[in-house]
């Protein structure tokens, strides 16, 4: 198990966390391995858009891509947290769903899809969750124009 855990301190002091950087193909398998290693609870799942970020620290061998899906797993028995960061390219923003491994990731993956446009392959119901169904675009992306539409009623003039 320890071979899977490159210790990359992402914050100083006691908030230093174990972070794993699997590639896309091995992401779901890595998450499943953590579940089997005693991480009972998927605490959080979200996506980050690194479009305008000047550069982040990644371990050797990890190719930076525009999107990153960040999963926070929690082990109640070991009182440990681990963070899984997987790179997702802009041209093909698809990543395997972990709903089959952690059913609780359901709403979080829908949120990441809705706000960041990451497609989770194998999710049973990948629909928008916070934005209206006919909304265009994914608001949390860095290139999403903000402030263009004054109101969001359906009859409102102008492009969305």
């Amino acid at each position: 198990m320890t071979a899977l855990l490159p210790e990359v301190p992402s914050a100083p002091g006691r908030h230093a966390a174990e972070v794993a950087f699997p590639d896309r193909e091995h992401y779901a398998a890595q998450v499943a391995a953590y579940r089997d290693a005693g991480f009972e609870l998927c605490a959080d799942l979200c996506a980050v858009d690194y479009l305008t970020h000047p550069g982040r620290h990644l371990p050797d061998g990890v190719e930076p891509e525009r999107f990153e899906v960040v999963v926070n797993l929690l082990s109640l028995s070991q009182k440990r947290r681990v963070r899984v960061r997987v790179q997702v390219p802009e041209s093909d923003p698809v990543v395997d769903s972990v709903v089959g491994i952690y059913p609780g990731a359901d709403a979080m993956e829908r949120e990441a899809y809705d706000l960041m446009g990451i497609v989770f392959r194998g999710h049973p119901d990948l629909t928008r969750i916070l934005m209206p169904e006919d909304w265009e675009g994914h608001p949390l992306r860095k290139d999403y124009g903000v402030g263009r539409v004054p109101v969001q009623f359906k009859e409102a003039p102008g492009p969305r």
Binding site: A17, A43, N72, G104, A107, P139
Partner: protein, 466 residues
């Protein structure tokens, strides 16, 4: 309640006597206007099997098989006995704008789908446009029943990236306020839960006691809610003179009143009938669905971040983690009631041991200088100006910090690119995640209990939708 139940099945049906041809057109137009499309609960034939299984109880997707065998589920059921109805989003008991779509067989709930997003205001996006100094005013509006906890988690995440060490008094003031907030939040829950179950006295009592806490908050922070009191670097102001007496009065009064609630609710047969054995959840299901807080503890899992992964100075305090046994509504009620008492225990210890000293970091790059210094020092003026216009720069990095809010694990994932604004700020709202347990809790129960079950989950829609 029936006033708000809008029967979707009769939409635009000309044969429906209550809904003539003209009326049918109008209804159809109204439905089209408010439709959320695939976000809504669909008729069984129109629902993909995988989604249908999920709506019938999300834990069906447990890899181990779960409590209910997927083979037992009648996916093909196409009879006319079931009805899809809408509860909310403006139902008085849904705690904001939660909309539940329920499939009923008579009075029994078969499927549930929460439709959310009616309060979505894009606060995570807004957070990227505000400096770290302004950020606390944004996050405080998410969970509006425990704003101080939101500020706390945001501040802790910022401080983790800054790597600043807080003076002890700031830490202990934060604990004091955080526990008072838990008391007020749970009192508010007792009030609304009482109202949902028809106990209007409890509603009045809960609000009355909560008001005492809010009055103290107003004295200490200037505002009853959305305080912006806990900020990166410490707290905004020292506690007001005579705070010990105020806090002791709150502790004494609320503690005495919790025993009155015992008389009013805990032992009352009608209340027990409505709560015992309703909305059962097992520990495996709660963990699989990522439920935290009182919901997880009600199933017997002693998981409280204050105890298990201590932050601030909770490891120096003496308190109990309350757990339940059956994971039903009554357990969740007793956990919250007893957590009020535990919080009062903590508040008394904090008040007794409150250390002297600074209430914020004396680092001029993070916190503004005292007002008096600005008149006499040019440097102080510059620092003051810089902190409030440009903010302070936070080193590049990524951090996830979690605290125990009254509703469960409240997490903040903060990504910094080295500027004075967060590159990405994600809040893991416990209500948002806990809401996933609702379809499971409601399955097989009565529609009359739906209100009680939703109430026992304690969702705060501001946090669900963010």
């Amino acid at each position: 309640m029936t006033d708000d139940l809008f029967v979707a099945g009769t939409t635009g049906d000309p044969a429906d006597p209550a809904d003539g041809p003209a009326g049918g057109v109008r209804t159809a137009a109204r439905v089209a206007e408010t439709s959320e499309g695939a976000q809504e609960l669909l008729e069984r034939p129109a629902t993909p099997p995988a989604e249908l299984r999920r709506e019938l109880g999300a834990v069906l997707r447990l890899p181990e098989g779960g409590v209910l065998d997927p083979g037992d589920i009648d996916v093909e059921r196409r009879d006319d006995e079931t009805m899809i109805i809408n509860m909310g989003p403006q139902h008085p008991s849904t705690h904001g704008v939660l909309r539940l779509m329920l499939e009923l067989d008579g009075e029994t709930v078969l499927r549930t789908k929460p439709v959310i997003g009616y309060l979505h205001t894009g606060m995570e996006k807004t957070g990227e446009e505000l400096t770290y100094v302004q950020g606390a005013t944004n996050v405080t509006r998410m969970d509006y029943l425990s704003p101080l906890n939101n500020e706390l988690v945001f501040s802790l995440a910022t401080e983790a990236l800054l790597d600043v060490e807080l003076p002890p008094r700031a830490v202990w003031i934060r604990m004091l306020m955080s526990e008072l907030q838990r008391v007020s939040s749970h009192l508010m829950w007792m009030a609304t839960n009482g109202m949902d179950l028809g106990s209007t006295s409890m509603m009045i009592y809960g609000f009355r006691e909560r008001e005492m806490v809010l009055t103290f908050f107003e004295k200490a922070t200037g505002l009853r809610m959305n305080h912006n009191y806990i900020r990166p670097g410490g707290v905004a102001a020292d506690l007001p003179d005579g705070w010990e007496d105020d806090v002791e009065v709150i502790c004494e009064t609320v503690l005495a009143r919790t025993y009155e609630y015992d008389e009013l609710l805990t032992g009352q047969p009608i209340f027990r009938e409505r709560t015992e054995g309703i909305g059962n959840l097992s520990a495996e299901e709660a963990l699989a669905l990522s439920a935290t807080g009182p919901i997880l503890r009600s199933t017997g899992v002693p998981w409280d971040l204050r105890r298990t992964m201590p932050y601030l100075a909770y490891d120096q305090l003496d308190f109990d983690v309350i757990v339940g046994t059956y994971g039903d509504n009554f357990d969740r009620y007793s956990i919250r009631l007893n957590e009020i008492r535990e919080s009062i225990r903590i508040i008394r210890q904090v008040a007794e041991r409150m250390p002297p000293g600074d209430y914020r970091v004396q680092d001029r790059k993070v916190t503004p200088p005292p007002r008096a210094r600005i008149d006499e020092s040019m440097e102080a003026l510059i620092h003051h100006f810089k902190v409030f216009t440009e903010g302070f720069r936070v080193p590049e990095g990524e951090v996830y910090v979690a605290i125990e809010s009254p509703r469960g694990e409240l997490g903040c994932l903060l990504v910094s690119d080295g500027t004075s604004k967060p590159y990405r700020m994600h809040i893991r709202g416990p209500s948002f995640v806990n809401l996933q347990t609702v379809p499971l809790l409601l399955r097989g129960g009565l529609i009359a209990d739906a209100v009680a079950v939703v109430s026992s989950v304690d969702p705060v829609m501001g946090e669900v939708d963010r």
